[in-house]
Symmetry: C3
Subunit: 425 residues, 3 copies
């Protein structure tokens, strides 16, 4: 089960201190590159203008913790990188509990959880702490040590182009900017790494694959600012890959208009994997489709997910882990749903029968010679399929009309091509 391998890779990436910039992103990319040697790591300078945005400074954490009045070290970043608010400015000094409270973030409804909080674009410092720990704190002076650095550096991302027979592109994107969280971080880049390996090993690809591992939001905006003109020309399908690691649900989030081939493929695949898969709308969006499908960008990007960000209690907390939430089974399901979808895109052709009226299947040994009132399901499916090969409907539409998973038609269509009954159109 490939899910086990993916899970192991996620464990390797778990402890790295990722943010939207910095060493953690580069470490993550270099571990991905061990699987995908052709991955190209790009660097863009702090301060670079990307559409309406400016790339932030690079952020580095040396150490960060608090010493309680009792001399206990709490909120230690080296123990859990969620303790420190993302992009915290440096601070060193003693503060009263009253003052400290303004810098402590808790989730009272989930008393064991450390919430994940960031402040990329406004300088401030702060810590996240579980409510259970918070309630143990008392009055007195606390020593706060935040040894962080903010300096002009780089924003990094990984890009992999896998060429295919056509210049037309399928675009796959995942993000690498959250610290130690599993479904809403590691499931995405690890599944995408293994999908990329599978794609690289295919002996034939109809399409070119453009694959990126980027920091969410600022990374996708940055990537689009350099590439969107070319992408608008070539990309005809693609998926944003996030939250593909737990085993509780399958779900779908459409492109802005919901009418691209990516949308139709995703819904077909998910329906046949899990008839109870959840359908979200564009208004439920929250990841990089916000950029890829923005007005004027308008790339055909949909999302195939397991349980969606924001829809499970562990989301954006220390509880989103690789033990209870993300499992080998969960990752396996996410991987196969996406692989099925990519396979559909590769195989979704139009076919036309070469023969007017029904072909004589008996002389080809493909039809029972005795006509009785019994029904042969397999023969029926073949005759139905042939009757729909009119050069107008693509394989996906035919599968929908026949109410079967499209993958049930792959072998059949190849057999009929070999028999010269149908041709690609």
């Amino acid at each position: 089960m490939i899910g086990k391998e993916i899970h192991n890779f996620a464990l390797d990436l778990w402890k790295i201190n990722r943010s939207i910039t910095g060493e953690g992103v580069r470490e993550t990319l270099s571990l991905i590159k061990e699987h995908l040697p052709n991955l190209k790591v790009h660097s863009v300078k702090s301060g670079t203008k990307v559409f309406d945005w400016e790339l932030p400074q690079e952020w580095k954490v040396n150490k960060a913790y608090i010493i309680t009045p009792d001399g206990k070290k709490i909120c230690d970043y080296s123990e859990n990188n969620l303790h420190l608010i993302g992009y915290s400015t440096p601070f060193n000094g003693y503060v009263s509990f009253e003052e400290l409270k303004n810098h402590l973030h808790t989730l009272p409804k989930q008393p064991k959880a450390i919430p994940y909080i960031t402040s990329y674009y406004k300088p401030r410092w702060g810590f996240s702490i579980s409510t259970e720990e918070y309630l143990k704190l008392g009055d007195g002076m606390y020593e706060v040590i935040i040894d962080t650095e903010l300096f002009d550096g780089y924003l990094n991302y990984g890009e992999l182009i896998i060429p295919g027979n056509s210049k037309k592109e399928v675009f796959l994107s995942s993000y690498i900017c959250h610290p130690s969280m599993a479904n809403n971080e590691l499931s995405g880049p690890t599944v995408l790494t293994f999908l990329s390996k599978w794609l690289e090993n295919l002996s034939f690809r109809n399409y070119t694959y453009r694959i990126v591992f980027i920091p969410e939001t600022i990374g996708s905006i940055s990537y689009l600012s350099s590439n969107y003109r070319e992408m608008k020309k070539n990309v005809f399908s693609g998926f944003n890959i996030t939250c593909v690691g737990d085993n509780r649900a399958y779900s779908f989030l459409p492109s802005r208009k919901g009418n691209t081939i990516s949308d139709f493929v995703a819904k077909h695949v998910l329906r046949w994997i899990d008839p109870n898969y959840k359908i979200y709308t564009w208004l439920d969006r929250g990841s990089d489709e916000r950029q890829y499908c923005a007005p004027g960008v308008d790339l055909p990007i949909a999302s195939i997910m397991r349980t969606k960000y924001g829809e499970y209690p562990e989301y954006h907390t220390s509880l989103d882990d690789l033990k209870k939430v993300v499992t080998p089974f969960g990752l396996n399901g996410g991987y196969w749903a996406l692989r099925r979808a990519i396979e559909v895109i590769e195989k979704n052709k139009k076919f036309k029968v070469n023969i007017l009226c029904e072909p004589q299947m008996g002389k080809r040994g493909l039809y029972p010679t005795l006509s009785t009132k019994d029904i042969n399901e397999k023969v029926n499916l073949m005759m139905d399929f042939i009757s729909l090969c009119d050069g107008e409907e693509d394989l996906l539409s035919i599968a929908e009309i026949l109410n079967v998973p499209i993958w049930n038609l792959y072998e059949l269509s190849e057999k009929l091509i070999k028999e010269n009954i149908i041709s690609e159109f």
Copy 2:
């Protein structure tokens, strides 16, 4: 509450003896003109051909009543103008009860009601009487006095053009031809009078408003015969205003094909005012939309109503009054539903974001600087709205996608225009 003012105006108009022609129409128009000094009163000669019709003679009632064998005066037109059949020819003489019966009209199922009956195009005489009164009558000779005159005169109507920034027109029509009835008569012209006052007082109007107060059917046919060519060029939206005075329901009747901007606007407004509003079809029509939307005329006219004509028990009887049926509250609701609709037409633009990818709202102070897992509904609505400003969907469609009343977006769109994030497209 403007409904109170409208109700007072309706009380002023109550006693006037209206028909499709005559002094009552002119009196009514002159009272409307007190509110709308720019109203132009037109006169068209009896006998004028208007499409398939010919304008009828003018009808004047001097007096009309019956003297019972006991010497009692009944069916006195001066007490209730519904007693006399509209367009009754003159008659003076004694008739037996047997003969009189053929000329008396009752509503046995509503024993207290005097029915409203007319015979515009076939000469006859007759009276309406409540069943309760009718049952008191006995055998004997009755003296019938109908002192009416039919003579070549004029058909009158009022017209008000309120110019706007564009020559494109919104057409508003109501009728002034029924005698003392409230929902199915006075609610229409009184609400339209106050809508016209509001429109005249606006500092800016995108569109020109063509407003008419006409006798139903023959008046709208007459008006169209003179104006339909120009109207077909300029009118892109409009409403027929009738039955907007009771407080029991809201309802909608579409244009012939039901696919004009007036239809979409009306349905949106009514849905957000009253989710249980009643939707009728073209087959339920019965007012001047029969002319405005006739094949070949095809103006984009829909109806926003309170309780529709024919759908309430008091309809076309003396029970349709300004006490129990039409109330200040009812009129207020009718006024605001139509005003909302006209506001939508004025404000329904297309917008396009000026920025590729999501705008950086934080630097404009429009976005929380701290990213937590909590959801800010107002910020969400703003980002959703921006994500839909693609220059293709108009504000009405965006409101439908966002599932909010369009008026919730007026201020937001203005703010985003000021911030130079979106522009009119």
Copy 3:
């Protein structure tokens, strides 16, 4: 009731030994020709290539039966022509019960039924027998006599062209290749015979009628191979006529895309004959629409049926008879459903009002002169109809909007044309 005449004709055809070729087909055609003297009987030589197929040899049965070890004659073709597998090769000899079993076909779930079995394209011999008879058989040697001949001859079919005002054609097809079965054979050609007689006797036809009586599958393929180019040019509507004789249900099977005028007509007619009529899909097909609607052929052919082939227990067995299954009432219903459908095709015009705004119906004596609150359904229907005569909607669409059977509008539209209120458009 015409159903009685049709049933009598079916009784005449019952005993004829039909197959896809041979004397039975010719006998059947000659009995049809007695009703339709203009019927042209065509002959195509065995071995002729028709698209992907080759016409089979002609099959003739002289006699066929089995003598049991007790000397009893069973499975006698002369008693029931379903006993012999269609296209059985000759055989003469003694076989053990063990061997014979391989050549005997039963339907254990319907113990009294002799199943209908054929083997047109693979040489074999065999008998059908009811399970009840089969269970009486014991060990021993059986004498098998199958005196059949397979030889180069002809495939025959009947064709009738009934000319109309336009070269545009309505195509009607039924089949004549099954031996003694009633709903799934004789109902089709007998109903089509009487429909053809009605069509020939019409004083005026808008369209030309192309009517064929053919062997199923090989016959329609054969006919199309000679005629499809001309048919693609001229045929704009048509029906495959099968299973129109029982009295248990009405049903509909669409053309391949389900969007032809034949589909809309059939659904309208059936809805008003039987609101519970059953709707099948293209995937449920099983008769000559498989050829007529095949990709590249694409004729606009739908099926109006009583109980569909394969959907009733007696289907393709000796129980599908002219007593319990097919009745005069059943045939009558099938005939009228198809006749209604053809009438719709003849009468489905577009109309346009000649008058702007509502016509003054009163002056034409078509409208009540007294206006009361009562509703006159007939006048309402007339005014609704006029309001929809815009030259865009055809009569069928108007009937759908009005929610009435289209035949309720025939007289009305003629009256309005006479009054010069509407015109054909």
